[in-house]
C-alpha cells in the first residue's frame, strides 16, 4: 500500500504550508508569553512608527502593535480550531450517521443540513452581538461551528451513501455489528483523508469569518484577534487620516493573508495526495 503519510511528507505544497503554519503558531503561542500585556497603553508613545523598541510601532492608544499581533494570531487560531473541530464533528455526525441509518433519520439530517445551509451568518451575528453581553472567543467559535458545517455534511453524506453499499458493510452487519459500530469502524476510516480536509477548510474559513465579523464590529470587541486589530485600526479617529499609521493595519492584513494561504496550500497538497487523479510523483 502506498503510504499516504510518506506522500504527504514528500508533497512540497503540504510541507511548505505546514512550515508557514507552524511558524505562525509559534509566533501566536510563544510571542504573548515573552512579550508583555497587549492592552498596556503607553500614552506617551502614541502612533509611533516602527523602531527597535517597538518592532511594528505603536497604535494611536500607545499599544505595541507587535505584541498585539502575536496575541491576535494566537486568538484567531483558537477561534479557528474550536470552530474547525466542532464543525467537523457536527458535519461527520449529521453527514454520516443519519444517511447510514436511512429512512427517517436521513430525512431529518438532510432537513437540518439544508436549513443550516441557508442560515445568513452576518445578520445572525448582528442579532447575537446585540443580545449577548460578553461575547468571548469560545462562544464565537461555537457559533461559527454551528453555522459552517452544512456543506461538509452534505459531501460526507454523499460519500457515506456510496460507501454503505460496499459489501464489507453487509459483511460487518452479518458479523453482528450494530449501525453505529459499522459507521465508526467500517465507513468512517475510509473517509479519514476527506475528514481531515474538511477540518482544514473549516478552520481556515472560520478564521476568515471571525476576522470579517470583527472588522465590522459584531464579534468580540474585547479580545484581540486579527479582525479586532483591523477594526480598531480602521476606526481610529485620533489621527486625521487613518492610513497615516500604516504599521497598525498592514501587519494583521498580511498575517491573515499568509495564514489563510498556508491553510489552503496545505489543503491543496492534501488534495493532490488523496485525490488520485491529481497525484503526481
Amino acid at each position: 500500500m502506498i503510504d499516504v503519510w510518506e506522500l504527504l511528507l514528500r508533497s512540497r505544497k503540504f510541507m511548505f504550508g505546514l512550515a508557514v503554519l507552524i511558524s505562525l503558531i509559534l509566533l501566536g503561542t510563544v510571542g504573548p508569553w515573552l512579550l508583555g500585556d497587549p492592552y498596556y497603553m503607553n500614552l506617551s508613545l502614541i502612533g509611533r512608527p516602527p523602531s527597535p523598541e517597538h518592532l511594528l510601532g505603536t497604535t494611536s492608544f500607545g499599544e505595541d502593535v507587535f505584541t498585539q499581533l502575536c496575541n491576535a494570531i494566537g486568538n484567531s487560531l483558537v477561534v479557528g480550531l474550536i470552530a474547525g473541530v466542532l464543525g467537523t464533528l457536527i458535519a461527520v455526525f449529521v453527514g454520516a450517521v443519519g444517511p447510514y441509518i436511512g429512512g427517517m433519520a436521513d430525512r431529518i439530517s438532510s432537513l437540518a443540513t439544508n436549513l443550516a445551509l441557508v442560515l445568513p451568518l452576518i445578520p445572525l451575528f448582528i442579532i447575537i452581538a446585540s443580545v449577548v453581553r460578553g461575547l468571548n472567543l469560545v462562544l464565537i467559535g461555537l457559533i461559527l461551528a454551528a453555522t459552517s458545517w452544512p456543506w461538509a455534511a452534505r459531501s460526507i453524506r454523499s460519500q457515506v451513501l456510496t460507501l454503505k453499499e460496499r459489501e464489507y458493510v453487509n459483511l460487518a452487519r452479518m458479523s453482528g455489528q450494530n449501525s453505529v459500530d459499522i459507521v465508526v469502524t467500517e465507513v468512517l476510516p475510509n473517509m479519514l483523508a476527506y475528514i481531515m480536509m474538511v477540518f482544514v477548510i473549516l478552520t481556515g474559513t472560520a478564521i476568515l469569518a471571525e476576522s470579517a465579523l470583527s472588522m465590522i464590529g459584531v464579534s468580540t470587541t474585547r479580545t484581540i484577534t486579527l479582525g479586532y486589530m483591523l477594526y480598531w485600526a480602521q476606526h481610529e479617529t485620533t489621527v486625521p487620516f487613518w492610513w497615516n499609521i500604516w504599521w497598525w493595519f498592514i501587519p494583521p492584513g498580511i498575517v491573515l493573508t499568509v495564514l489563510l494561504t498556508a491553510i489552503f496550500v496545505i489543503h491543496a497538497g492534501m488534495d493532490e495526495i488523496f485525490n488520485p487523479r491529481l497525484r503526481e510523483l
Binding site: M1, E6, L281
Partner: protein
Amino acid sequence: MATHILEVQDLRGYYRGTFGVVHAVDGVSFTVDRGVVMGIAGESGGGKSTLAQLVSGSPPPLLHLEGGTILVDGIDIYSINPEELRTEVKCKRMSYVPQSSMESLNPVKRIRDFIFDVVRQRTGKRIASSEEKAEVLDMAANHMKTLGLDRPVLDRYPHELSGGMKQRVVIAVSTLWNPKLLIIDEPTSALDVTSQKRMIEALLNLKRAGTIESMLYISHDLTSLRQLCGECIIMYAGKIAEIGDMEETIDSPRHPYSRLLTAAIASYDSKGRKMGELKSIAGSPPDLRDPPAGCRFHPRCPYVMDICRTKEPPMFWAGERKGGASCWLLTSQAGQ
C-alpha cells in the same frame, strides 16, 4: 509497409513510486502479423494489462518505459513526438480499449452526443448543422450494426444500456476509423456468460467485416481467447512463458505454467458437461518488486530443477511448430 502490424522488441516497463520498482513487463518480444488476432493470457498481476498500456502509447503516470522498442505498422511509437503519435498512430493505425472502459461513458450524455464529441476531437470539424450530424449518425449506426447494436441505441443514455451493450458501444466508437490494430483489455471479464458470447461474436464480426485488421486481445479467460484468437501469448510475472498457435498451446502446452493454467480453467463440452477435474495452481504469483531469480515460475513449478533456481531459461523455439516456450525442460528437445 512493414510486414508486421506490431513488433515488440525486448520491452521493459516498470512502475516506479514510493512502493519501489515493480518489474511489471520485463523483456518481452513478439510480433503480430497482419490479419492475426493475438491473445494474451495469464493470471492477474502477470503484466498483461501493463503490456497493453505500453503498446497503446499512453502509459499511466507511474509506468515508465525502461527499454525496448514498439513498432506499430513500422512506426517506433516512443521515438516520435506526441502530436505525431496522436495523428499518425492513434487516429489512424491503432485503437486501445482499456479495462472497464465502459464506465467511462458520460452518464448525462446520450450515446449520439458522445459520438459527436469523439468525431469532433478526431476530425476537428464542428458538426453543428443537422446534415453533418445526420451524416455522422448514419455512419455510426452502420458501423454499430456489425457489433449487433441497433440504431435506437444512439438515443439512449448509458444507464439505459446493459454492461455488454455499453462495452460494445465503446468498441464501436474506438473502431469508427477502421484502425489496423485494435488493442482490447479484458472486455468480457465484467459480463455474464451470455453477454461474453455476444461480445466475442461482435469482435469476430468486426474482423470479418474488415473494420479492423489485427487485434491484441488481453484476457485472463483462456476460454474466450480460444474462441477468438489465432495465436496467443501466455504471460507469467512480466515475461512470456509460452507463445504460439492458439490451438496448439491449449491442446498440447509446452510450458508447465500453460499446462497448469489450462487444467485450472473450467471447461465444458457443448452440452455443458465438465471435462475433467479442475485443479488450481498452488501458490500465488511473485511480488514483482523482487522477482525470484532464475525462472520466475520456479517456486510454483512441479517440475522444478536446480538450474531453474539460478538461471533464467531462454525461449526455446520448436522446429516444426511456430511457437516457443521459455522453460529448461525443453533443453533436450531444442538442444540438437
